[in-house]
């Protein structure tokens, strides 16, 4: 079969000594930084991105993917051990995971998280391998009109699934789209919004925005209320779940994987929504005797499987359509562009070794996480124990050097400072920055596709609704907007996010 040949090609690429090394390095660094409280995957990837610039494209992408799921896993470890989730998708893991740790079952909780994540990762890697080729096939027939409508759908979906006010999510998208336009217009050569600064002629680097908003902004936010954290568990023992435990977690892991796989593909959702929904479902269907919120192993297994599944399947739209479904994928796309690869359906046909190598490396990376993390738990505990007031200056150091190294200009450092302030203000006024980053990445692409679509149709915007695929996507976007404004769904949205508060 074709897929076996493809996976074999991928295995050959991913299993080369160099790529295995970068996968391991990515997973290790991702986990190490992911366990630090208050540093999510976006900030982690943005911080480590410059390190990958010198690598060949495939090694760079493998390493970045490794950093991503390493950071996810690290966040869960922190959630279980200190009740301070490192990232939003492990918020629900903290509910039961921390309680398990308090009852001396930290080892079991960590093992459950690892097993759930690995299972979900394996299934979803297969899903990516199965569904990417047909999807890319369809995408190859897309014209500019289809791409434009697809991006509209993507942005709308990211509003629907965003946390918080819809109006502000919409505003943040516009804000991001406009920021994305800064720089020289490819068609006319006019430098837009560059204020005469040569550093702005090529636009603002997305890493600068991501590090400012998600790195510095987050740090200022954390300094607002400096809580002292105590690591419950100095020594983690009793890793292996008993037979009884295994029986209890099989169902939750399967259901979590399913929910995560579906939600991960949807734009804007990704890992966070997946883990919330999975937890809510388990709570609903479990027997009343299951002590949710008091250390139920089901409450760790299901969201952990879901968040890893979502993290994995969010690669599907990125790899096949070149469209990011969340900020992490936006960063991956940025990384691809820096490496000289135009993301989109042609990647699979033009660079099969890169495409399949990345997919196989995801499975290898998940395996590494499983093997590596449990023995290294002592090291992670040590990392978590570093007090925040000693940690964050070092984080700023890495952000500053990373941003400077992008194009060796101090101007980028000033921009990062500005976006840091902006990011903090957005946080205070409850405007979520994630849709902004999506808009920022999609802005130039949308303009170009719209321009081409209208050029072909001689200026008639009807082209967007007369072509069937494009019309379908716009209809879906409209439907999603209507649905989200309906009171019934609004209530369910609030419920889905209610666990966080």
């Amino acid at each position: 079969m074709d897929i076996i040949g493809n996976l074999w090609l991928g295995l050959q690429t991913a299993a080369s000594a160099t790529n295995l090394l970068y996968c391991l390095l990515g997973v290790f660094l991702g986990t190490a930084i992911g366990v630090l409280p208050g540093l999510g995957p976006v900030a982690t990837i943005a911080m480590l991105l410059p390190v990958t610039f010198g690598l060949p494209p495939i090694s760079a992408l493998i390493m970045l993917a490794g950093i991503y799921y390493g950071a996810q896993y690290g966040g869960s470890t922190t959630a279980i051990l200190v009740n301070l989730p490192g990232e939003s998708s492990s918020v629900v893991t903290a509910l039961d995971g921390y309680q398990m740790a308090r009852h001396g079952q930290a080892g079991k909780a960590l093992a459950t998280a690892a097993i759930g994540s690995f299972f979900a990762g394996t299934i979803c890697t297969l899903l990516i391998a199965l569904f990417s080729p047909p999807l890319a096939e369809v995408a190859l027939s897309f014209g500019p009109a289809e791409y434009f409508s697809l991006m509209v759908l993507g942005l709308v979906a990211s509003i629907v699934l965003a946390h918080g006010s819809l109006l502000h999510a919409l505003g943040m998208i516009m804000f991001g789209l406009i920021l994305g336009l800064v720089g020289t217009d490819v068609n006319s050569g006019v430098a837009r919004y560059s204020f005469g600064l040569p550093e702005l002629a090529d636009g603002i680097n997305f890493v600068v925005v991501a590090m400012g908003v998600f790195g510095l902004g987050e740090i200022i936010g954390n300094l607002e209320h400096e809580a002292s954290r105590t690591v419950m568990v100095k020594k983690v023992t009793g890793l292996m779940p008993s037979k009884e435990d295994v029986k209890r977690i099989v169902g939750p892991i399967l259901r979590g994987t399913g929910i995560g796989a579906v939600l991960g593909i949807l734009p804007g959702g990704g890992a966070m929504l997946a883990s919330f929904s999975a937890y809510a479902l388990e709570k609903k269907i479990a027997k009343p005797s299951v002590p949710f919120g008091k250390g139920a192993i089901e409450g760790v297994a299901s969201p952990e499987a879901a968040n890893n599944a979502g993290a994995q399947t969010s690669f599907i739209p990125m790899l096949t359509l070149g469209i990011p479904s969340n900020p992490v994928m936006a960063l991956m796309i940025g990384a691809m562009i820096i490496q000289g690869i135009q993301p989109g359906p042609s990647v699979m046909t033009e660079q099969p070794a890169l495409f399949w190598g990345l997919i196989v490396s995801m499975w290898i990376g998940n395996l590494m996480l499983l093997v590596l993390n449990l023995p290294l738990i002592g090291l992670w505990v040590k990392m978590i124990s570093v007090p925040y007031h000693l940690l964050y200056p070092a984080i700023i150091v890495f952000c500053a050097i990373g941003v400077f190294s992008l194009s060796n200009t101090e101007m980028d450092v000033y921009f990062m400072a500005g976006f840091g302030l902006l990011g903090y203000i957005f946080r205070k006024i409850d405007a979520e920055p994630a849709p902004m980053l999506l808009g920022f990445i999609l802005g130039p692409m949308m303009e170009e596709f719209l321009r081409r679509a209208l050029l072909l149709s001689k200026g008639s915007p009807l082209v967007l609704v007369t072509r069937p695929i494009s019309a379908t996507m716009l209809a879906l976007a409209l439907l999603a907007l209507i649905a989200v404004l309906s009171p019934a769904l609004q209530k369910r949205r609030e419920e889905a996010f209610a666990e966080e508060d």
Partner: protein, 165 residues
């Protein structure tokens, strides 16, 4: 602290019922307005031949519209207060970052990192001089010099232009 007091007093007077909506609206209208104003200088073009001003004009007009809706809503829908701003922490973290940018080429990496770490660390309530932390700082600077400058070849001078050359 002062900002929280003023936000609450606005809240209390009852004119602005949703301070978060209000300030978001202000930011959107300001930003969108400026973007719209600047975009007038870029050719709008026609739909079939979009000029460089087409997309920015449409987007900034939409942003202003969203901002206005947000402003209107802030007078109608009550919402929680703005909360306390970490003014000192925010200022020091931003200042530290800017200082790094100013010093990196002029004074060199070593001094730039010293300034960045010391100023940003002062943002924490728990900041005090400890030998352990000072040793950590030395290790951090040595690590950055070795890994980034020697290892990855980032062109950052260890000693900057202010000190000779």
């Amino acid at each position: 602290m002062t900002s929280s007091a003023s936000a609450e007093s606005i809240h209390a007077t009852g004119i602005i019922r949703g301070p978060k909506d209000f300030w978001t609206g202000v930011i959107y209208v300001l930003f969108g307005g400026i973007a719209f104003w600047i975009a007038r200088d870029y050719g709008f073009g026609t739909a079939s031949r979009m000029g460089p001003g087409y997309f920015p004009t449409v987007l900034s007009a939409l942003l202003v519209l969203i901002g206005v809706i947000s402003l209107v809503r802030s007078f109608i829908v009550p919402a929680g207060p703005l909360g306390k701003f970490a003014v000192k922490a925010g200022f020091l973290v931003i200042l530290a970052t800017v200082l790094f940018g100013v010093l990196i080429n002029r004074a060199g990496l070593i001094i730039a990192l010293l300034a960045l770490v010391l100023v940003s660390a002062a943002a924490s309530e728990k900041f005090r001089f400890e030998w352990k932390a000072a040793a950590g700082l030395v290790v951090l600077i040595a690590f950055c010099a070795l890994v980034f400058v020697k290892g990855l070849g980032v062109p950052m001078p260890l000693i900057g232009t202010w000190f000779g050359e």
